[in-house]
Symmetry: C2
Subunit: 125 residues, 2 copies
């Protein structure tokens, strides 16, 4: 049994603890998956994840997930799973708060790398 | 490329399509995991899942997840991951709408079975 009481994780509380964009923060774990919160604003880089799907659940704002042949709009209370290997570019014309769930170790920029690659941060877990 | 346009999954829309309690509906998949919505009301059965953690994200209402030594209250915008093997009993004094994420094939009553065991339903996926 845990020494400290188990308690729920509040998404808004976790989001209030940071302000930077494109920097997912691990807030909980489920098996070998990580549950992250992230703030998005502007255009990300085109990238893909060769080994995994990636789930986006939007809490506030409107996320445009550009695919090569179409754009998926994801609003509050909506989710979209980007299939493995599919090139995508998240874009937000104003700030979006979202939950991302994916296997532990997935890097935000996937196969693209570059300046927007976020350091692993599980300080809020 | 898919023949039909990719689109986001709206949680409220999916929840509007059924009324029964304790009957999770698969609405999306991520790798070998399933994303489900469920309506909960009343007391479930004590059970555990020996092989997996189980994530509950509450959308509306207040979910009490009873553990043997404490109770975790999960309100709207909050989540809790029940660790594998830990006995738990979800309880809702009024209707709760929630998202459950767990590996495909997990049965809602885990090791307990019984009358509340739900049939697998991915008709909303």
């Amino acid at each position: 049994m845990p020494s400290s009481p188990a308690q729920a994780v509040d998404l808004k509380d976790k989001l209030s603890l940071f302000s930077e964009h494109w920097s997912p923060k691990v807030i909980a774990r489920m098996n070998d998956y990580e549950i992250k919160v992230v703030k998005l604003d502007g255009e990300f880089v085109w990238h893909s994840h060769q080994d995994t799907d990636e789930m986006f659940l939007v809490l506030s704002g409107e996320l445009e997930i550009q695919l090569r042949d179409q754009t998926v709009t994801v609003g509050p209370g909506q989710l979209y799973v980007v299939p493995r290997g599919v090139e995508h570019r998240p874009t937000a014309s104003s700030e979006v708060h979202a939950v991302i769930i994916e296997p532990a170790g997935v890097v935000n920029t996937g196969d693209a790398g570059g300046a927007l690659t976020a350091a692993y941060d599980d300080s809020l877990a």
